[in-house]
């Protein structure tokens, strides 16, 4: 059964206030290696056999992401 894993994050031009807070928290804990933090959403779709990336892309464009502020990446795998 194909499984689509979708990662949604804010575009680089949009201020990620949540990410900034988490970055500050990590650095104040002493994790100086943290250069930046980007927060986002993770969505997993279980699909009928044969469903392709094209359709998932359409779902992202129409509903799952808002292209004005968000970008997304899709990874599809076939699992038993």
């Amino acid at each position: 059964m194909p499984r689509a894993r979708i990662t949604i994050s804010l575009k680089p031009t949009v201020l990620d206030a949540q990410g900034a807070v988490v970055k500050n928290a990590l650095r104040s804990m002493g994790y100086d290696s943290v250069q930046d933090v980007h927060m986002g959403k993770y969505i997993e779709l279980e699909l009928a056999p044969g469903a392709g990336e094209e359709q998932v892309r359409e779902m992202c464009q129409k509903l799952l992401a808002n292209p004005v502020i968000e970008q997304y990446s899709i990874a599809i795998s076939n699992e038993g």
């Binding site: 804010l10 031009t13 949009v14 201020l15 206030a17 949540q18 807070v21 509903l63 799952l64 808002n66 004005v68 502020i69």
Partner: protein, 250 residues
Amino acid sequence: MSSTLLSRAPSQAPPSQFLRWGVVVFPGTNCDQDTYHVLQGVLGQQVRYVWHHETELSGLDALILPGGFAHGDYLRAGAVARFSAVMEGVQRFAAEGKPVLGICNGFQVLLEAGLLPGAMLHNQSQSFACRWVNLRVEQPASPFLAACAPGAVLRIPIAHGEGNYFAEPDALARMERRGQVLLRYCEPDGTITPEANPNGSVDNIAGVSNEAGNVMGLMPHPERASEAILGSDDGRKIFESVILSFAKRQ
């Protein structure tokens, strides 16, 4: 002003024009009754609720998408509501040039539907903001602000978690040129400061319109500030402006 209407709202003379208003109700909408009350009880207008399954809106003169949490605001505020059956009717209604006003969650739905430019982010503070704000009227020529003096400051409350308005710089410049930025968060004297911005909205933007000017969205709640007993009746100006503009067009 018609004196026969004074009995409906003894504190102020209501507008002389009657409009047929529709108040759209999604599952999760919660400001519909307040909005209905202001339109009918305070302003003496004809109002009916429009359920989210309805598609036939031709008998109405003006539409309001009120505040709330339509469809739980899951995914993003307004993201699911914008696919409701009623939104086809709202799209047509707007395309005909009739006034459509989105308040708070209604604004978010109109953004998601592409009827207004831009998008909403979570408040910069990452917390829900519920307080009074001051709004500077930027476009008194707008049909939603026609009852306001140029540079007027309106005192109206906000209550939202996702009201951080965003648009890319080139889109913003285009909106400015076309006069689509209608309201900005400001100090009581009208000056625009970062401190007056309750949610991080770009350029302190609190309300915008579409290019044609007949669709408006704003985060503050004018229906919660339309009677003096509630602390302010500045919100009435928004509804009265629609009525005034409608009368002028007739």
